[in-house]
Subunit: 456 residues, 2 copies
């Protein structure tokens, strides 16, 4: 088979069209976290449907109890495989004062595209659409199904509802998820694992009102102090090590080959620290760092609610406190089991502390070899001219676990974002280098898959 | 000497007059914590001056960089002692939704007086004023100096300024502080000690912005987790025991006689728990409880700032966190020394944590015997018909330590408030039983002191 060929003139006209479409999508502020944007969400869903139809596909807006999901379809080859490509079109809020320009006005500068949603995930979604059209124009005998979610940034609360209701109509041979980040420009990377997420709250109520720390202090219990104590018993915050017996029991240790892949991504702690503006980090070793972000679980306190938070010190003892905690879990940890471990551990130490788990996400691990991994590797190499590194994601993508459950098909990650694109950050951007590479990558991937049988 | 005699008719007319004055004072919302009440503070100072003058005294409003202090003077007996009686006329805010009536509308019901400031400390201030007038009317040869502060509820930020500037004109032979609470109605109590207060903040900055706990968790430091850890290293929140070596070194252990006095106050953990609406407390033994509130130091976390505090769990790692902490210290702990101990302890455990002390208050311990203690005991017994218990206050009164420093005179506490009066709580109240007893107590105390020489 010969790789899809691209002519310069063709790429130039693609570029203008891509920029037009990205501008259109970015300028609809589809912030899923803000209920008053519900109208914009619908507008964007309609624009997405129009774009898919314009590109020759069929499209429908599937309702859920929350935001709709856009489903697009290309190709009519009953005996050829169907590839589902997942992206999301909702975006993070953009209230950061550091935005240099209006976040929802598309701005083009030296091949870079600025605006909320450019890299996460509208730019990659459009690369998938353009790559699909290219494959279709070249008569690649493959079926493509686009799933564009509009609630990813708020934790995909209705994606399972959508999947459950539509799974029968969404039959697919494999899935591509396009919402991940490389470690470095010029170093293509394919993720093959995600951490899971197990958030919970600890609540301790010791009284009914603020009491005076002079009049009662010494006898009154202090719920904030006790939660601090419980948290410190759960983990060593300095090293990050979890002290709950059995917590690490299920952890699948990264192999040598895993570690080699992680390091091939070009990860350096210096760049990591700069990208995330961290004053100090726990380790300056790249090896330790990638192991801890991609292959080891965490215990994290996100906030403690209930006490005084104004200026200075107010000497009241709070009647109730709540700690916001989450754990990132890795293959093969079972979130339900780990949550039980934590609950039992805390109950033994402080039986008055209530543990309230929120809904969790399982970790994910895909293969680094086999037909889909090989096709992904080859597509990325063709598009970006370099062998991709096999890495993992420290984050969790709820939709992945849900699709795995309902579509029962292999999942590969073909992401296009870079650290400098500012995921969830002010001045978010994307660029033509990644977009054009992405279009080629998707077209090539589809071409490679068309040659495979169904259901491999 | 014969105790001051009170006739029924006289007490009835006192009562009406007392209620009128209390109404007038309570209905001026002198909330020192709310800058927009500055006008009310001045209005109350003027009303206080008018009341003192109306009662035959001289009065002046002494300015400070903050709220003024009202100073009243009665008696002109150069060779007789001067007694200074300290009260404060500013009040706590009254925003609690539990108020059954408007907090700044005086309301009388079955001998109880409702409204913010009735018991803390306008009611006792007026009892002192009425008691002083009674002594003067009986030609008691004593000089009385009233000091009415208007910033007590915000920590007396300018009281030292006032004292420093006016100490020369405020010469006194002894001081009475009238701002303490009995443990139980019918059980008069005299405090002879206060805990000190050493507040500080712990600040830990590890980054510049919220980071994603998936993308960075495991390598990014967590300032909230690390502060929890430091706090848990400082003290065992379950028992309250401070784990910093040397912390208890200076603590003057309560003697058997101290403990007997504490228990004579009628303290029970059941009533304590009910009064403060505490679901659970650290100990159900009255003995342990009074020891821990009145004679032992504490370490208390009042709040942790910096993380997520909305609903559910947001999985961001905060870049900076601040813990609000204070210690109540007891005789003979030295706050400066203890703060250094804490700082060194924390620095060793987590050198990146910044410790920022706020201004502290030293603990106070007065004598339970000697001429002033004897007079206080006798005055209280005469007024309330029962031997008072000698107790301490778990709280701290900044003005006490300042007066001790500048006036260099013995200090006794003659308080009138009861737990059911709702200090700093909604539906604050006072009552005629305590007020009339207070008037008699002050008159009798002045009479006893008039018989003493100067400067004893």
């Amino acid at each position: 088979m010969i790789a899809v060929v691209w002519h310069n003139l063709e790429m130039q006209s693609e570029r203008l069209e891509y920029e037009d479409k990205l501008k259109e999508f970015v300028e609809i502020p589809s912030i899923s976290a803000e209920p008053e944007r519900r109208g914009d969400i619908e507008r964007l869903a309609d624009a997405a449907i129009a774009a898919i139809r314009e590109f020759g596909g069929a499209a429908e807006k599937v309702s859920t109890p929350g935001n709709p999901v856009v489903v697009g379809r290309f190709g009519a080859f009953p005996d050829r495989p169907t590839v589902t490509i997942y992206n999301h079109l909702d975006v993070q809020p953009a209230n950061e004062p550091q935005w240099k320009r209006a976040p929802f006005v598309f701005h083009k500068q030296n091949g870079r595209y600025f605006g909320r949603g450019t890299t996460d995930d509208k730019g990659p979604a459009l690369a998938a659409l353009f790559g699909t059209r290219a494959a279709m124009q070249r008569k690649t005998p493959v079926n493509v199904q686009l799933i564009w979610e509009l609630e990813e940034e708020i934790g995909s609360p209705n994606f399972e509802h959508f999947m459950k209701a539509s799974a029968a109509r969404l039959g697919t041979d494999s899935v591509v998820v396009s919402d991940t980040i490389w470690t470095k420009r010029g170093r293509p990377a394919i993720a093959y694992g995600l951490r899971g997420l197990a958030p919970f709250r600890l609540v301790l109520e010791t009284g009914a009102k603020d009491v005076h720390s002079g009049t009662t202090g010494g006898v009154a219990r202090n719920p904030i102090g006790e939660l601090c104590q419980v948290i410190a018993e759960c983990y060593d915050a300095k090293t990050g090590e979890v002290k709950i017996p059995g917590f690490y029991a299920g952890v699948l240790k990264p192999t040598r080959s895993d570690m080699a892949g992680f390091l091939a991504s070009g990860f350096t702690t210096k760049e990591f620290q700069r990208a995330h503006e961290l004053k100090r980090i726990r380790s300056s070793s790249a090896e330790e760092a990638v192991r801890h972000i991609w292959a080891y679980p965490t215990f994290e306190v996100h906030g403690i609610v209930g006490g005084y938070t104004g200026p200075g010190v107010k000497t009241a003892i709070a009647p109730i406190a709540e700690a916001k905690i989450s754990m990132r879990l890795v293959p093969n940890q079972d979130p339900a089991k780990v949550l039980r471990l934590v609950r039992d551990f805390i109950r033994k130490r402080n039986p008055d502390v209530q543990m309230i788990p929120e809904s969790f996400l399982k970790p994910f691990l895909g293969p680094k070899s086999g037909p889909y991994a090989d096709a992904a590797r080859e597509a990325m190499r063709t598009a970006f001219g370099r062998e991709p590194a096999w890495v993992r994601e420290g984050g969790s993508i709820g939709a992945v676990v849900t699709m795995q459950k309902y579509l029962k098909a292999p999942i590969v990650f073909l992401g296009l974002s870079l650290p400098e694109h500012g995921y969830h950050a002010p001045n978010e951007n994307f660029d033509w280098e990644q977009a054009s590479g992405g279009i080629k990558m998707f077209a090539r991937y589809l071409e490679l898959l068309s040659a495979m049988g169904r259901g491999k």
